[in-house]
Symmetry: C2
Subunit: 195 residues, 2 copies
């Protein structure tokens, strides 16, 4: 059996890096979707819904031997979704909300071929230390975290100094639950742990 060729439906540079570090070769196909969902969709189901939406937006373009991986990551604090900050003020406000608190990061992942699709979600709890306004301002103005849900990158300077602990998959916070993905790829004929 020939291994299917992976198509990553994501423009996130973190996801590109994660997949490469997992030893998975892939091509990119960026989905053109509006990240909208029904008002009555439970917030914890949003990332799974959006990952499926992204996968379905590119499925007509893939070949029979290709396999799509799509994902969506959200930050949740007190059951409210924090998306990407629109500007500096919003980024500062988000980080002030997260300071000293636990928040949840959920990544939804869809694996889809022409024949079948599975979608799953993984939740990681992240505990921030109390952050000074000075530190938040320093991070936002220096690192411009506008392309990141919740306004921070766990793999940046900020992650090293602000995060007290995580409970769950660390890489999930970066955008992909890597070891869970390894497991879910096996029924699709891909085993990255085989040499």
């Amino acid at each position: 059996m020939t291994e299917p060729k992976i198509v990553l439906a994501s423009k996130s540079p973190r996801r590109h890096e994660l997949l490469r570090n997992m030893g998975i070769e892939f091509t990119l196909m960026v989905p053109d979707v509006e990240e909208t969902y029904a008002d009555d969709l439970p917030v914890r189901m949003v990332p799974a819904f959006l990952s499926s939406k992204k996968a379905n937006a590119v499925v007509e373009y893939i070949r029979q031997d290709q396999l799509i991986i799509a994902a969506d990551t959200v930050v949740l604090l007190n059951d409210r979704i924090y998306g990407k900050p629109a500007n500096e003020a919003e980024a500062i406000e988000m980080l002030q909300m997260l300071s000293g608190n636990m928040h949840e990061v959920i990544t939804g992942v869809t694996i889809k071929s022409k024949e079948k699709e599975i979608t799953f979600a993984e939740l990681t709890r992240v505990y921030f230390r109390r952050l000074s306004n000075e530190m938040i301002l320093h991070y936002v103005t220096k690192y411009h975290p506008y392309d990141k849900a919740g306004a921070y990158g766990i793999q940046e300077w900020f992650g090293y100094v602000a995060i007290e602990k995580v409970n769950g998959c660390f890489f999930n916070v970066m955008g992909l639950p890597t070891s869970r993905l390894v497991k879910e790829l096996i029924p699709f004929g891909i085993d990255v742990t085989a040499s």
Copy 2:
């Protein structure tokens, strides 16, 4: 007040990288100590004891305005310490023991100037998926994890595919509890979160 100059008493390349990523400049002074301890020392106290031993081995060489950071990391499974594997067979055996189980990683850290010393330890629980012998062999022969306690690097390919979740500080598993260290450095006049 002039900021004291950091001296890192560790030859671990992971610790060098972590400290750099925290935005801390440092010079290196590798301690020449035997990593031995009394038989009746409780295993959970070993890393703190050894980090202090390392710091004290270099203290006579530092200047009044310098500050030592020393650390020691151990892997514990069922209260037994797993150190660095001596060879391929030992590395494979260690990873087979860790497979499918939770283990603890404790890093002891000592911060020491000419005047004062503090030592603390941080514990992270790491949960491995069940690993095939094939995968373990692939990792050991390709990555040669002989310089790593427990025979794995969480920041390598292995970390992405084998670790189901962590509970605690992720960077602690790499060798330094970074956000805790930030906090403990403040009484020594170092605040890496100030811009």
